[in-house]
């Protein structure tokens, strides 16, 4: 995702005043902002405050953003900083672990969440590239608890015996989608190892 052309395009368009491109950026990165806030144990009203600050700073920051590929990192770090500022300013949240070593976990949380977010984005993109049938099958298997094979057989109109082989076929296709293949082409990627 380092040079994700979609992100570069969205940033350029948003910078030129395209509201749709901005909306898409927000859809894409709201989960990242949200997860960083949750890691800081903020309550909902505080998460909303931090979110507002982050989006406003991003609006301001867009024209000066030289490397759109660095956007996730920028968003996570800014969110992190806003969280800590809020915690320090209001002490509505007990700043237990953070006060002692404010800088170290600050960076660590942001980086960790960026990686998690990237992995999720890649998997979601890959999933969207699968055929409708594979999406349905994997969707049923991913339910918690997974749908029983006889129900899957009934709903997808396939023999029970074919579900197992199809499951692994769909997962193989998932690994071969451009989204995942691009990662593989980069060579062994230690950054995303979880």
């Amino acid at each position: 995702m380092r040079d994700d052309p979609t992100v570069v395009d969205l940033v350029t368009r948003a910078r030129d005043g395209d509201k749709n491109a901005w909306d898409e950026l927000v859809e894409r990165y709201a989960p990242l902002v949200y997860s960083v806030c949750r890691r800081c144990r903020l309550a909902q009203p505080d998460i909303d405050d931090v979110g507002q600050s982050v989006w406003l700073r991003l609006v301001e920051h867009l024209p000066g953003l030289r490397e759109p590929a660095a956007l996730p990192g920028w968003i996570a770090t800014t969110t992190q900083r806003e969280c800590f500022r809020l915690i320090r300013a209001t002490s509505r949240v007990e700043p237990v672990d953070f006060e002692q070593a404010p800088d170290v976990p600050e960076q660590a949380i942001a980086e960790e969440e960026v990686l998690r977010h990237e992995r999720k984005m890649i998997l979601r993109t890959a999933f969207a590239e699968l055929s409708r049938r594979c999406q349905m099958l994997l969707g049923l298997l991913m339910q918690d608890p997974p749908a029983p094979y006889d129900e899957i057989s009934r709903r997808l109109q396939v023999p029970i015996g074919s579900i197992g082989p199809n499951r692994s076929r769909c997962l193989t296709r998932l690994r071969q989608t451009p989204a995942l293949a691009r990662l593989a082409a980069d060579g062994p990627d230690d950054r995303t190892r979880g």
């Binding site: 005043g17 859809e27 989006w55 991003l58 979601r124």
Partner: protein, 152 residues
Amino acid sequence: MDPEWHDDEKLIEALRDALASTDDVPPAFVEAGKAAFAWRTIDAELAALTYDSAQDPLDALAIRSESAILRSLTFASDGWTVELELTPNAVLGQLDPPEVGTVTARGDGGKLAEAEIDELGFFVLGPPPNIPYRLVCTTQSGTTILTGWITP
């Protein structure tokens, strides 16, 4: 690719996690982010909420028993503080350090109210907007300070 993803079970687990996580984010949070685009033309210093009497049980009591003040708020940026008292008829404010200028209450839809800031930094903005708003203080010397959201 994550080496773990060669394993069917691990891959399906990671996929489940990836597809589920967007559901955790409240739609209102995403919508607020989209609305922030309307503020892109305002080049301002952001003043964040540092005090809210509504979050302070003792103070909320004191304020209620005392006067017409419903709530007091403080917003601060690196160089500026905006102190506010919300009353039923007006928003009373003070900009610190004091400087002459104008103050505007703005919602996502645009301007809601406007007032002058006097040489002591005081302003009276009324009637108070009845929808969420933020204050934009523009000083004579050309600084613009934007507060966080105020929800009446």
